[in-house]
């Protein structure tokens, strides 16, 4: 039935996909690469070849490295609480006696669906100065004598960015990790319980090593996604003095679409790609190493 002649239909079926793929995904990536060696003049609309000038400017630009630093700090501020909370809540939700699991998971997950622009706007208003809700609460509780100007304190501004992203993603990670926990065979736990392992030992020596692949995946995708943050920082504190929430992609956007430096913007896009590649490889290396070390200890224990 599955004759060779019939297989030709497959080419017809994948044709639209690859036509669109070439036109809208592959071509723009190569075109960007070409543009990164050029300079655009908004007045004459001419594009001029400038060689590696854009890359030299990027690697010597303080603004670029600042934006890399801001992105990494915001990412750290988001990933640390995000994974801690997600892991803790997933472990609790994995217990049989907990009631209302579905409702709780839905509440945790819902922020993940909200438009990032809306999240940025919402957190901008929550943390605004002097009359933002958070400032009102902090001063009403007498925790601070004066309202805090979050946007002009670089570390605080990045912390707020991290909190916003954490708020958006911890529920997603809970669903992800919970699915991983669900997949663990219950017999393993019963056997361990029989051998007298308590809840902590079961978590440390069975659960954590067994959901390692999931955690590696969560980490790597979080690096790829987290280092591309744009919408939330764009809405959050753009008028802050230190521009401490100007992330890499935001810097690229400003260069290309506000200053019309398409060539420099395209070079930035490739710079960002490089940074993301390095840090994904690094996070893959680190999480795999830590994981295998734990697994070994688990065996000898």
């Amino acid at each position: 039935m599955l004759t060779r002649k019939r297989q030709r239909w497959a080419y017809l079926y994948i044709l639209p996909f690859f036509a669109s793929f070439l036109a809208f995904s592959v071509y723009p990536i190569f075109y960007s690469f070409y543009l990164s060696f050029t300079e655009y003049d908004p007045l004459s609309l001419a594009t001029r070849w400038v060689g590696a000038a854009n890359y030299i400017r990027m690697f010597t630009s303080r603004y670029f490295w600042d934006s890399v630093g801001h992105t990494l700090v915001i990412w750290l501020f988001s990933i640390i609480p995000q994974l801690t909370i997600a892991m803790l809540l997933s472990l609790i939700l994995n217990e049989r006696w907990v009631k209302g699991k579905t409702a709780l998971r839905s509440i945790y997950y819902f922020p993940n669906l909200v438009t990032p622009i809306t999240i940025g706007l919402l957190f901008n208003m929550l943390f605004s100065y002097p009359g933002g809700t958070i400032n009102n609460i902090l001063t009403a509780l007498h925790l601070f004598p004066h309202p805090v100007e979050f946007k002009n304190a670089p570390v605080l501004a990045m912390l707020v960015g991290g909190i916003a992203i954490c708020w958006q993603y911890f529920g997603y990670n809970i669903i992800f990790i919970s699915a991983g926990l669900n997949a663990i065979n219950q017999d393993v736990y019963e056997a361990a319980e029989m051998d007298g392992a308590n809840a902590w030992q079961r978590t440390a020596h069975i659960t954590l090593p067994l959901i390692r692949p999931i955690m590696i995946y969560v980490m790597v995708t979080s690096v790829i996604g987290g280092l591309q943050i744009f919408d939330i920082p764009k809405m959050l504190f753009r008028d802050g003095v230190a521009n401490s929430t100007r992330t890499m992609v935001l810097y690229m956007y400003e260069s290309a679409f506000e200053r019309w430096q398409f060539g420099f913007g395209a070079a930035l896009a490739y710079g960002i790609f490089l940074v993301i590649a390095v840090f994904s490889a690094l996070s893959l290396f680190v999480t795999t190493r830590i994981g295998s070390k734990n697994a070994k200890e688990g065996k000898t224990a």
Binding site: F18, Y27, L88, L121, P130, N182, A269
Partner: protein
């Protein structure tokens, strides 16, 4: 678990263990509920803010709604016709989702049920592209659309949905496990034309996967910002996120009440989708975890 025939000493120990267990359970519930509260808090502020005047939002701490919803709404509508953006976003997201579902399932069907030359390599390209950061081609895409005189048109925002690598990956996984070869062979035996097999046999089998991917595509499109921002220049054509962002940047004293109403308008449809598709969304993410795990 308490045994009635246990000696008194061990009964006391049992009681102690029981108290300890209830305390640890109480602590767990406390953690679960307080994080739920934190998670809900920004939405609550949004609901309050939409109903209060700017004085109350900026100068007081209150947990009760005010009576200024209508006034805030009127001021927001004066600034931007947000329902226009709402309709633009809705039609764009629907068109995008429909295009994505049809062509992705067609492509996935070819990869799942046909053995053709180069299928392995082509599929490898699709999977590896999923790891490339989306911003890499943005500037080239903008210049390409500008060269083709397609700026301020919906075409550049809809046509790329034909090639959604994530959807193809998901559909292929689904088809390999849920579409028996016998079903296709039987249809061929009945003299069913090839494309009709796809429409009448394959698509119906895929309905659960189509719903799942459809909900995710719709939400992803509803939320997308960078592409509509750079492609659309006319206010008439702007999507909701682009409009919301421009309310913020249009200067003057911040009108918190009006902005909160705008935020409310953008969150409500997601709440409705979520209320109906909660299970579907959670399952889709869990499937992702199962594939990776």
């Amino acid at each position: 678990m308490m045994r009635m025939d246990a000696p008194p000493a061990s009964r006391a120990a049992n009681r102690q263990a029981l108290t300890r267990r209830w305390m640890s359970r109480g602590l767990c519930y406390f953690i679960l509920l307080s994080i739920a509260l934190v998670s809900f808090f920004p939405f609550y502020v949004m609901l309050l803010g939409a109903t209060q005047d700017n004085y109350h939002i900026t100068s007081t701490v209150t947990l009760l709604p005010g009576r200024h919803l209508a006034g805030n709404y009127a001021r927001m509508m004066q600034n931007k016709n947000i329902w226009r953006g709402f309709m633009n976003s809705l039609s764009l997201a629907l068109a995008n989702t429909a295009v994505c579902l049809y062509f992705s399932s067609l492509t996935a069907y070819a990869f799942a049920k046909f053995r053709f030359k180069g299928s392995g390599a082509l599929y490898g390209i699709i999977v590896s592209t999923m790891m490339i950061p989306g911003q890499l081609g943005v500037i080239g895409f903008f210049r390409q659309m500008s060269d083709m005189k397609l700026l301020n048109s919906y075409i550049p925002l809809i046509l790329p949905a034909i090639s959604n690598c994530f959807a193809v990956f998901f559909f292929r996984q689904y088809l390999e496990s849920s579409l028996p070869n016998e079903l296709i062979e039987a249809s061929l035996m009945d003299g069913c034309p090839e494309i009709t097999i796809f429409h009448r046999v394959v698509l119906p089998v895929m309905v659960p996967a189509l719903v799942t991917q459809g909900v995710m595509s719709f939400i992803g499109n509803w939320n997308s910002y960078l592409n509509p921002l750079i492609i659309l220049t006319q206010t008439q054509k702007m999507t909701l996120p682009v409009m919301l962002a421009s309310i913020k940047s249009s200067g003057g004293a911040a009108d918190y009440g009006a902005q909160y109403v705008g935020i409310l308008v953008s969150v409500l449809p997601l709440l409705i989708v979520f209320a109906f598709a909660n299970r579907v969304i959670v399952e889709k993410i869990a499937i992702g975890a199962a594939v990776k795990g």
